[in-house]
């Protein structure tokens, strides 16, 4: 560690200019690409703070801050206490921001002088007006150079200031951001509780927070973050360290709180929010199923939508009077039995031929199967049975005797989905700790060794396919009852991909992660066809999904919410591993009497061997 500290530049004189230049250009490129995909202009319509800050500007302004922060953090080793380099960091951030602003100014000059509208759709006068604040070229360039530099500096400064300040700033900024972005949800909720006056005070008429509310709420969040500092973490740690009965009790309380919230909250929510929650639930159900297949058993299934389709179509055929070939008009509950059977059989059918394949090959073949199923439902050949492109319409809701679950009443759909999700979560949770769950994980880690342990790997993998298929078919059944009609276009390949992103971003093999992933991605950004809370992002949804996926795979492959066990290890790994290596080193030194000059690298935890 000492060697490393000595390598670091200690003053601005030793500034690592290639590094600064590189990050400056990265900053500029990100800004220019953001502008050229048209995001700032489109998001400019949405106000964050009335008249003062729009979502479009926020996005552009965040870039230099983020990159200023990253560029000045880069030399910090993961897990090692933050290094403070003071001046070095600040200069890095400042210059990085300056270069970024400079590149953006160049874009402005280009916008002013050439017309590249033909290949670049967003090369528009609106973009120019957006960038120059409608004040002309000179002002725009000067403004961006200054703001870029200042924001870069601010980003780097976040790194230099004490952690209390950093934490509080982050809380205030993100708190206000979410408060503003979740305007629709919060208004809806507070109206449900009869608190319209609160909404009126918080938000301006044309959308966005008012200046007063920004200041007041900002102060409140700041104070709250100061108060809660350390307590949340202490509480979670206490919960993690609990054992036996105490832990059971705490889990029970947590469960009851969540259950009550899930049951009570929707009663106070309006139609739009309940619709959103129901959508989240449908995708959560899919994600939970895929989590078993991909996360636990390690089978990369890209055709998961097939089972969703089978669930939807089976329900449609069995319950709808409009089913073209066979219309027994069963009750949803009865139909569900057949849905499970159909999905299980499809799981076996698709699973059996591909079970011997691994990794990429499995992914490619399942991708094909996913499309085949959709094309079959759409084909003229099966048209007389499943309605072809016209699909099956007039699917009745779920008649419960005292109420009917149907799409026009999203709250009831949410409750129905909630029941299925609860079943799915319980099943996943029990399976994870079961013998079968262990077999899945063993197959995921090393199939050959799993086989050598006596595990029947073929059966284990088939079971994963079947369980995943059944959960997905539940989701399809709910979709059929909710929408009231089923078309092949509801089962595009995109559904598979989005579910996979949800699972990966949330945290593979981890139920809590999948929950968070569904709410964040489906709830906030939106599903393949369903809008999320941020409707402004509609056009950029897939772009964001893609960026998130790449980012997560590179930087945080364990997902947003790594499982409790895993995160504890990740925290301890860096330190313990050092200690062990040191310990082993000492041992072997003693034994052999030689000096082992192993460099201790915190990065290569997994591959450590003597």
């Amino acid at each position: 560690m000492n060697e490393r500290a000595m390598d670091l530049p200690r003053s601005a004189v030793d500034q690592n200019w290639p590094h600064v230049l590189r990050w400056g250009l990265v900053c500029g490129l990100v800004l220019v690409s953001l502008c050229l995909v048209g995001m700032p202009v489109e998001l400019d319509k949405r106000a964050i703070i009335e008249r003062h800050l729009s979502l479009g500007y926020l996005f552009v302004l965040l870039v230099p801050i983020a990159i200023g922060w990253v560029s000045s953090t880069l030399l910090v080793l993961e897990g090692v206490e933050n290094r403070r380099q003071g001046l070095y960091d600040l200069v890095t951030g400042l210059v990085v921001g300056l270069i970024g602003g400079g590149v953006l100014s160049l874009l402005m000059v280009a916008l002013d002088n050439w017309n590249l509208r033909d290949p670049l759709v967003n090369w528009s006068p609106q973009l120019f007006r957006f960038l120059t604040y409608e004040n002309g070229m000179g002002f725009g360039a000067a403004a961006w150079l200054c703001t870029g530099a200042l924001l870069g500096l601010a980003g780097a400064a976040l790194h230099v200031v004490p952690s209390v300040v950093r934490r509080t700033t982050a809380f205030v900024v993100f708190g206000l951001f979410f408060l503003s972005v979740l305007e629709a949800a919060i208004s809806d909720l507070s109206e449900g509780f009869g608190l319209e006056s609160l909404t009126d005070w918080l938000y301006a008429k044309k959308g966005g927070l008012t200046v007063t509310s920004t200041i007041v709420v900002g102060l409140v969040i700041g104070a709250a973050s100061m108060v809660t500092r350390g307590r949340v973490k202490a509480a979670t740690n206490r919960y993690r360290d609990m054992e036996g009965a105490e832990r059971q009790k705490a889990s029970m309380i947590l469960f009851v709180v969540v259950a009550v919230l899930c049951i009570v909250l929707p009663m106070f929510l309006g139609k739009i929010m309940n619709e959103l929650l129901a959508n989240v639930g449908i995708f959560l159900l899919l994600a939970l199923g895929l989590n078993i297949v991909v996360g636990l058993a390690g089978l990369l299934d890209l055709g998961y939508v097939a089972f969703f389709a089978v669930g939807g179509y089976t329900t449609a055929v069995l319950t709808s009077p409009n089913s073209p070939w066979f219309a027994p008009e069963l009750h949803f509950g009865v139909a569900l039995v057949f849905v499970v059977i159909a999905a299980g059989l499809t799981g076996l059918l698709i699973g059996a031929p591909v079970i011997r394949m691994r990794g990429d090959y499995l992914a490619i073949v399942t991708l094909g199967f996913g499309e085949i199923i959709r094309l079959l439902f759409m084909s003229d050949w099966l048209g007389p049975y499943f309605g072809g492109a016209q699909g099956i319409t007039n699917i009745p809701g779920v008649d419960l005797g005292f109420a009917t679950v149907k799409g026009t009443d999203p709250r009831s759909v949410f409750y129905l989905v909630l029941v299925f999700c609860a079943i799915a979560i319980y099943t996943s949770w029990r399976l994870q700790a079961s013998r079968l769950g262990r077999a899945w994980m063993a197959v995921r880690e090393d199939e050959q060794v799993a086989e050598a342990m006596g595990i029947n790997t073929v059966n284990a993998k088939l079971m994963a396919f079947v369980v995943g298929a059944v959960l997905a078919s539940f989701s399809g059944a709910v979709l059929a009852a909710k929408v009231g009609s089923i078309f092949p276009t509801s089962f595009m390949i995109l559904v598979s991909i989005i579910i996979l992103v949800v699972v990966i971003v949330g945290g593979m093999g981890n139920i809590a992660g999948v929950l968070v992933g569904s709410f964040v991605l489906i709830g906030v950004l939106g599903g393949p066809k369903q809008p999320g809370l941020l409707q402004e992002f509609q056009n950029y949804k897939l772009l964001i999904y893609g960026i998130l996926l790449v980012f997560m795979m590179l930087k945080r492959p364990e997902g947003l919410v790594p499982s409790a066990r895993r995160s504890r290890e990740l925290h301890q790994d860096e330190f313990l591993q050092d200690a062990w290596l040191q310990g082993d080193k000492l041992e072997s030194e003693e034994e052999e009497g030689t000096v082992v000059t192993a460099t201790v690298s915190t990065g290569e935890v997994g591959g450590a061997e003597e």
Partner: protein, 247 residues
């Protein structure tokens, strides 16, 4: 079989009778005869691509012989799955340990007992393994991939012992270990052997392997070319020339 077999008319625990195996058209094992008796420590020597790993996989049922018989306790088990052999006391410690890296040490050990249903017995064996390897107990909730090479070796052996084996098939147990650990590892193998578990060890480190083994075979391009007591093999000039790095 040669006169080196120290039997008193006992049945071999595990046996090859003129076993041939093919990968596609490639003939790997050619008329191989082997016999492992209860409680023995034997080793199989051979260079690269001589068929050592295939021998292990065939013993465990992951590769099916094209002709000849694999015999377990006098019963021909050619058609029996791996699980049948594991239940009946044949277990492998794979090459390079190959732990389930992202699973915890405890989960690795539990997977070793995957086919057993006696909860009490499993708990007992876990305790026994903690006694054998106190360091393993300290690392129970750790991901096994983060352990050091020596610790991984302990877990790999522990995982194999969890199935209560009568014979342990070890694929290159000293590969990838630091020199200091190789010695320690062989002592460990002897210790397990002294508790009555037969050990069939495939090794490149012929010197070390022969120094603890009772008997050994030398495999060359799929054929058994030498079959003798460890002492005789140690003294064999041919073997010394080709495997012990002399001459």
């Amino acid at each position: 079989m040669s006169e080196a077999v120290p039997t008193n008319g006992a049945t071999p625990l595990l046996e090859f009778r003129r076993v041939n195996t093919h990968y596609g058209a490639v003939h790997i094992l050619k008329d191989v005869d082997l016999a492992i008796y209860p409680g023995e420590l034997v080793c199989l020597l051979g260079g690269n691509a001589s068929g050592k790993s295939t021998t292990l996989k065939t013993l465990l049922g992951m590769v099916t012989p094209t002709s000849g018989e694999v015999v377990l306790d006098g019963e021909v088990v050619n058609d029996k799955p791996t699980s049948y052999r594991v239940i009946n006391g044949v277990t492998m410690v794979p090459e390079n340990r190959r732990l389930f890296k992202r699973l915890s040490v405890k989960e690795n050990l539990q997977l070793g007992a995957y086919l057993r249903n006696d909860k009490g017995g499993i708990a007992e064996d876990l305790e026994r393994i903690y006694e054998l390897f106190p360091r393993v107990r300290e690392r129970l909730s750790q991901k096994s991939g983060t352990l050091s090479g020596g610790e991984q070796q302990m877990v790999a052996i522990g995982r194999a012992l969890m199935s209560r084996p009568r014979v342990l098939l070890m694929d290159e147990p000293s590969m990838g270990l630091a020199p200091a650990l190789v010695q320690q590892n062989f002592e460990l193998i002897q210790q397990i052997h002294s508790e009555g578990v037969a050990i069939f060890m495939v090794e490149q480190n012929a010197n070390m392997a022969l120094s603890i083994a009772d008997r050994g075979w030398v495999l060359q391009t799929g054929r058994v070319v030498l079959d003798d007591t460890a002492e005789a093999l140690m003294a064999n000039p041919e073997l010394r020339a080709s495997y012990l790095g002399e001459g």
